[in-house]
């Protein structure tokens, strides 16, 4: 589904990603781990199409189509979703209206008419129940005054509404207590199908107890220095990242 080939990316002239190769197939869950500053969030933003980052080399293919040059909204229309580490507060736009706009803009891009209001309401009800979200919450301004946990839950609610092919969860576990973490992880697991894929970006192994990855990759200094199965996450939890820095420099 997603193929990243030799991806290099700069921000303000500084190279952050230095040749990433990654392949994610439908039905799979991949975890990308690494210490602060290794380029994890940059990778997430580059896949989602953030303009600040300049791709200098390599390409990103989604279902064999090069999406490196597309705008963020066009990538979203093709099925990419990024759950933000720090979701932006937008006073004056309710969660519901935001979702209506997002869904209908996506449908418009796909040549479909607006989703009928009844269907929309039904979907909102169904997905908010999935994530144990209070209905009152949906009429509040997007992320405004939300707790860290509410913001993250709201991100996964949006993912549930938009039904992406590829969801990238950027540090979704940060700021979550254990109950909220379980609800979010449970939501993500229930949204899994054989046709979609999830990339979990995380600092700690904790989230991976609940969203169990098929593959784990370690990102260090803008490169993937090691890949393995879910047991790699446990190893990292015990040993930290330092032993891999040596591996990275040897490579």
């Amino acid at each position: 589904m997603l193929k990243i080939k030799n991806l290099h990316a700069n921000v303000e002239g500084k190279e952050i990603l230095r040749g990433i190769d990654l392949e994610v197939n439908a039905g799979e869950i991949h975890a990308i781990m690494g210490p602060n500053g290794s380029g994890k969030s940059t990778l997430a933003s580059v896949i989602a199409g953030k303009e600040e980052f300049e791709v200098t080399e390599g390409e990103i293919l989604l279902e064999n189509e090069n999406i490196s040059e597309l705008e963020a909204d066009e990538r979203a229309h093709k099925g990419i979703f990024l759950s933000f580490q720090y979701p932006v507060e937008i006073p004056g736009v309710s969660v519901t209206n935001f979702m209506k706009t997002a869904i209908n803009e996506t449908r418009k891009a796909q040549g479909l008419d607006d989703m009928p209001a009844k269907e929309m309401l039904q979907k909102i009800r169904e997905k908010s129940e999935l994530l144990d979200i209070d209905r009152k919450f949906l009429s509040r301004s997007l992320n405004e005054g939300f707790s860290g946990g509410e913001k993250k839950r709201n991100e996964i609610f949006q993912m549930a509404m938009l039904e992406p092919k590829l969801a990238i969860l950027d540090e979704t576990d940060s700021g979550l207590d254990i109950d909220a973490l379980k609800i979010v992880a449970d939501g993500v697991n229930r949204l899994r199908t054989k046709d979609n894929a999830v990339v979990v970006i995380t600092h700690y192994q904790r989230l991976l107890n609940y969203i169990v990855p098929d593959h784990v990759h370690v990102l260090l200094d803008g490169k993937i220095v090691k890949s393995g199965g879910k047991e790699l996450a446990k190893e990292l939890e015990e040993k930290g990242y330092d032993w891999l820095k040596a591996v990275g420099s040897v490579q």
Binding site: G49, V93, K100, T101, D114
Partner: protein, 437 residues
């Protein structure tokens, strides 16, 4: 001939032809003398530092337009709030149009200033209220000198106006250039309530200059909602001078929606003359091209335990320029004042500009006064967030600007106006969003 000279030389002829009581004659003559000595304000005046009238004073305005047939209602219906029942006081080129109006003398007076100034039954109200709170400055004096026509609204005590009142000033373009000076008086008695919608609308691209003065009085526990819709054609300029005097426990809100026109200057003063008064002034300005909108506000807290809320939002594109000059004056006596002022602006383009100048003069020591002013661009991170959810850049920008203005819209009490302004904003931003805020 300079406009000032033309006004001076026209004054005698004007004075002779209008039929009013002698007190008003005296007022006019005094006002004219005052204007003769001051002339129009210039950028040397502190209050006009960022707004120059030069370009609009150059036109050769006609001061006494010929009375022509009123435009066909069907052609101008869109300028009315027409989906609700309202009283209408309509002027065409400064002249009252009975055909387009729907006035009343039943329980309330919603009629013409020219009648009020000349008929003895209104004399008591005119004596008590006319020209009592407009500060003596050149533009108010000029308006007073030529005061003749406008809206006269008197709501007696303990009366709820049964429907909103629209005051609309059309200019037809029959004159190559036209100057009009409407003079409105609005008196709302104790425990009474009224909603007013005011609009100035040019029907062609011929230059129009409006110098309007409105005096508003809210007696004890009166409630007034006032909406000013400023969405005129590109050659129409407006100097709106509105003064509100409030008495104990009255509640007044005034909204100014500035989307059009060439140059718009709003001089808006609130004077609080009793305790537990609530004054609200809100505005949304969205302009582009070379448009200019200047909000010059004053709230004068003179008594204890009162509140004032000011919230002005501006979105400026192209080379549009804005000014916000908001003064809050709290007298020594006005303890426990709660005054809030906020002015937030978005500059869409590099050449757009805004001068924002909050001024707080506080002489009481037990007050809560806050003010904030921001000038910025749209938040790039927020734009990326919306785009990552499939909302294209243009719609994302519009959504953010909508959201930005929403605080002001949410407190509009007439749903039809909210809907109308909502649509205007969508139109201004060039998109159609799938929902109403």
């Amino acid at each position: 001939m300079e406009l000032k000279d033309k006004l001076i030389s026209s004054f005698m002829a004007f004075e002779e032809q209008v039929d009013v009581n002698s007190d008003i004659h005296n007022l006019r003559n005094e006002a004219m003398k005052f204007f003769e000595t001051t002339g129009f304000p210039t950028k040397k005046d502190e209050a006009w530092k960022y707004t120059s009238l030069n370009s609009i004073l150059k036109e050769d305005y006609s001061l006494f337009p010929k009375k022509e047939d009123a435009p066909d209602y069907r052609d101008i219906k869109k300028y009315f709030i027409h989906d609700i029942d309202t009283y209408k006081i309509v002027f065409v080129d400064g002249i009252y149009s009975s055909y387009l109006s729907e006035t009343t003398h039943d329980k309330i007076d919603a009629c013409l200033m020219s009648s009020a100034l000349s008929k003895s039954k209104y004399k008591a109200v005119i004596d008590n209220y006319f020209n009592k709170i407009a500060p003596k400055n050149s533009l108010n004096a000029l308006n007073t000198a030529f005061s003749h026509e406008g809206a006269y609204i008197n709501i007696p005590k303990n009366t709820l106006a049964d429907k909103p009142i629209q005051i609309i000033n059309f200019s037809t373009g029959n004159e190559a250039a036209l100057m009009v000076q409407p003079r409105n008086l609005i008196v709302v008695g104790e425990n009474s309530h009224v909603q007013i919608i005011e609009r100035h609308q040019s029907l062609t691209d011929n230059p129009v200059l409006t110098n309007s003065v409105t005096e508003v009085f809210a007696e004890k526990r009166a409630m007034i909602d006032y909406y000013k819709i400023q969405n005129d054609k590109s050659n129409a300029s407006l100097i709106d001078n509105t003064f509100v005097e409030q008495h104990g426990e009255s509640v007044c809100s005034l909204f100014t929606f500035s989307f059009g026109g060439k140059l718009t200057r709003n001089n808006l003063n609130f004077y609080q003359k009793g305790e537990r008064i609530d004054s609200t002034m809100k505005g949304i300005t969205i302009i582009e091209g070379k448009q200019h909108v200047d909000h010059n506000t004053l709230v004068h807290h003179q008594e204890p335990n009162c509140e004032s809320h000011q919230d002005y939002k501006g979105i400026f594109a192209d080379r549009a320029t804005g000014v916000f000059n908001g003064k809050v004056l709290v007298d020594k006596k006005a303890q426990k004042t709660d005054a809030f002022q906020s002015n937030n602006n978005i500059l869409v383009d590099d050449k757009a500009s805004i001068n924002s100048k909050p001024q707080l003069e506080i002489f009481a020591d037990d007050v809560k006064c806050s003010h904030g002013c921001t000038i910025g661009q749209l938040d790039e991170e927020a734009l990326f967030y919306l785009k990552s959810r499939g909302i294209p850049a243009k719609e994302a920008r519009a959504l953010l600007m909508y959201a930005f203005a929403n605080n002001v819209l949410s407190s509009v009490k007439i749903p039809e106006i909210k809907k109308r302004i909502n649509k205007q904003i969508a139109l201004k931003l060039g998109v159609n969003l799938g929902f109403d805020l």
